[in-house]
Amino acid sequence: MNCNDVAAILDSNRSARMAAGERATVDEHLSACEDCDAAWHAQTELLALRVPPMPATLLERALLAAHVPQRTQPRRAWPSMAIGAALLAGAALAGVTIVSLTSSPSANVPPAPAGEPSAQVDEALVATAPAATAPAPSATPDLPTSVELVETGGDVIPLVRHNPQYPPRALEQKAGGYVQLEFDITTAGTVENVRVVKSDDAQFEQSAFDALSKWRYLPRLSAGKRVRRDGVQTILRFVLTDEKNPPAPRSQAEIDAAIRESLQYSAGLEVALDRLATDDLRGVELQLDEMQAVYGAERLDLWNFYGYLYTVEGNYARAIDAYETAVAVAMRSPYPTSGPYVSLAKLYFARHQYDMALKTLLRPQQAVSGAPPGGSRRVSDEATALIDRLRALGVTEETLIGR
């Protein structure tokens, strides 16, 4: 046994699986040769190095990065060509920012695709069933209601939503209505101090109150720390589906499966939120990776959560990637959402990429401008404030065009 023999064993990765006799001759050489001893030790340590599992999002992010033409900011920029294409694709969406109080009767909103009930839907209607054929509410509490959610803050989007029970008496009367509620979001993302601001029919209040109390949010971030957010308002609208235009009928088995998946999905997100509340950031990421493996890469909630997580970690490049993917997913979604735009814009702002920040904020507006006239839109307070700050820095729509 000489140095070349030892090197050959290491080169062929045989060091960990050798017969006892050969191993003895190796040991003999190692005890006499300092270099080989060091080399052997190094290889053993290298082979023992645990590599963390590949993040499930990496494939999607890499594919996205590969496709976007590269400019000065490799991987992270979203060149204008790509924006144009994405906007065209998203132009059919109305009211991307926020659903207004008075708009969109339920019949105009597509029902959730089978197997994708409330969980993925932001600010849109939850899966509906025609009132005439609605099963008893106690049997399928999730389905007869459709709830329109109107938010008031910028990126305040519930992550876990429990559908309110449609009050049985209201079902009998074929009555609809809304309840406006105010509440606080804790640093753990739970809902506290729910109070009814107003409603047009008191019989919906208890049901709305009970449901909202169980919702979970991503806690607000301030300077990287999770803080309370008090005085958030939301409106739950109870809508019965237009009987002339019912959604495709679904079998009881399909409905049960959809409810089951929805509950599992919510439970998964609650696990991630609980870990977040105890600062187990690694645990959060593992949970998200696992959920992505099960539910696929088209879940806006998950991308938002990744963006949030990386922001908490201070890993802004990763956070931007995640929110960019969230925006891409949102653009493909038939449901309007204000979702990731503001968060993404804030990150660009924090990294002094002011042009990108403004472009991001303008994306939903540009999409809306292609929608039929009369389509309502509201820019969130946070988005407006950010646009104002950019203007103060001399970054406006006009300066963007010139570049």
Partner: protein, 178 residues
């Protein structure tokens, strides 16, 4: 659609985990490993037709990874901001459980990653690929080095790493760096 060609996904996806493992050994932390993988995909996508025609896309992808890493290292070397052991620790601690969680294994790994960071980029790249299970002939294809040079460099890299590990944190190692 805003994502890459489906064919590209099919070609690349099976090798991504191995790429990520190597990239992690190359860079020693997750964010940088992810950057390497993304950069590999960006460069590979620009040559989709080449990729399509290959019998062994894996070696070709690793060849790109090797270049990305060595180029990246050169860029970093030119940049006024040098990655130091301290930066390294910070990046790592945000990604991984704290040392208290599984103290011993964690400390050993940290020592190894610190030692790896002190190797020349070329040496480090060779080791990262070699422990992924590549044979000498495959490594030759990836690095364009002759067998003799490759063998010698691998051996020197291991010896250096082993000595860094043995003397980690002590004065002679620092002297070696300067």
């Amino acid at each position: 659609m805003t994502t890459a060609h489906p064919e590209f996904r099919d070609l690349v996806a099976p090798h991504l985990k191995a790429l990520f493992r190597s990239a992690y050994r190359l860079t020693g932390n997750r964010p940088d490993a992810e950057d390497v993988v993304q950069e590999v995909c960006i460069r590979a996508y620009a040559h989709l037709s080449t990729l399509r025609a290959l019998e062994q896309p894996k070696s070709w992808l690793f060849k790109i990874a090797y270049r990305v890493f060595v180029d990246g290292a050169r860029r970093r070397a030119r940049s006024p901001v040098r990655t130091t052991a301290e930066d390294f620790d910070t990046t790592r601690s945000s990604d991984e459980p704290s040392p208290d969680d599984h103290a011993e294994g964690e400390i050993a790994e940290r020592r190894l990653l610190e030692a790896l960071a002190k190797l020349d980029q070329d040496q480090r790249a060779l080791l990262a690929l070699q422990v992924e299970g590549y044979s000498l002939s495959e490594l030759q294809a990836i690095t364009d080095l002759s067998t003799d040079v490759l063998k010698a460099r691998l051996y020197r890299a291991r010896v250096r790493l082993g000595k860094l590990l043995a003397g980690n944190g002590k004065a002679p190692v620092l002297a070696l760096e300067k």
